[in-house]
Symmetry: C2
Subunit: 203 residues, 2 copies
């Protein structure tokens, strides 16, 4: 995210998305107001009120923007070996220390996700996002099977399992002081991959 929002925005929508990102990192969802998004915005604040009826409409547009960004950029990541790809994803998700900005952003996403417990628009977004990330993980597993480096497992099942664990890690990191225990989770996931997913190599 730091990379996505570090350049000058190309147009008004991107400028609004950038201001929303910085306001989310700074205030979280609970403390967010359109006014505070406006404080991060270089153009006239009236543009925000013109485009959006309220904070949640703006945030749902922000979430859709982020998902489009992942849809465009994630499939481009290329790794020669599916094992390297999968481990890079897990290292990224489960690193015990990821820097303040990433933690602040992830904590805000945990708050936004919780809105989906009662708000059908958020529920629809997070259902799409869950499906998308699950399919991408399944793609990596399928690639690994095709490469002969993974066993003939069910890619959807493996993907559902990995996504669930990453999701739990994100929630525990944002809501408890147990971040240090994520190193244990990463090690146990590695043991799982080695015994359940990676093909045995005959030397």
């Amino acid at each position: 995210m730091e990379e996505l929002f570090s350049d000058e925005p190309d147009d008004t929508r991107e400028a609004i998305m950038q201001a929303t990102y910085h306001a989310l990192c700074r205030h979280g969802y609970a403390g967010l107001t359109i006014q505070r998004i406006g404080d991060e915005f270089s153009k006239s604040k009236s543009l925000l009120y013109h485009h959006y009826d309220g904070k949640d409409e703006l945030l749902l547009d922000f979430l859709a923007f982020m998902l489009s960004y992942y849809e465009e950029t994630l499939p481009e990541q290329s790794y020669d070996d599916a094992r390297d790809h999968l481990e890079a994803i897990l290292d990224h998700a489960l690193a015990p220390d990821r820097g303040a900005e990433r933690d602040e952003y992830a904590a805000a996403i945990v708050e936004l996700r919780a809105q989906a417990a009662t708000d059908e628009n958020y529920h629809e977004h997070f259902s799409r996002s869950d499906r998308f990330f699950r399919d991408r993980l399944a793609d990596v597993v399928t690639t690994g099977i095709d490469q002969g480096v993974f066993r003939e497992t069910d890619p959807d099942r493996t993907a559902a399992f990995l996504l669930t664990t990453m999701n739990g890690a994100m929630t525990r990191r944002a809501t408890t002081d147990a971040a240090e225990s994520l190193a244990d989770v990463r090690r146990e996931l590695q043991a799982y991959l080695e015994t359940s997913l990676y093909a045995e190599v005959s030397e």
Copy 2:
């Protein structure tokens, strides 16, 4: 929870906790007010305002009450075999269909947990609760090692991994339409237990 709150409450605090539980199931956190908790309360609503300064103070007391309940009741559960115990916990957490009331309550807990992303009182509660459930899972693993039915693994590491996956399942269930994929997660966890945790039995 249905069992805990189905009897007549013993005292005023228990009556308040029962009303809070029912109001949380009905309205979630976002829609909750002291007034709405009062609507579920058989005694005078002024008691609520007398005891609590606001909705969050009441909810934090409710979360502490629930954690005390688990602290008193969970260690009593006895299973002859640690495998049966662990699988009962996972079946309970990951059942695809658990009934409306349990899902409503779990969704409200997901919302309450998200408050911990920005509120230090919630953060302190969910850190305690995370530690408690992790320790109870580690106890089950230790018991299984002592019984000779589990391998000599690191109980804390296994517990951190299982808790993270259960936590992710709870979040995905409450915030997406992916509940059916939890059956996949349960199956994959079973494969993990069988290859990584359960001792090999020599026949």
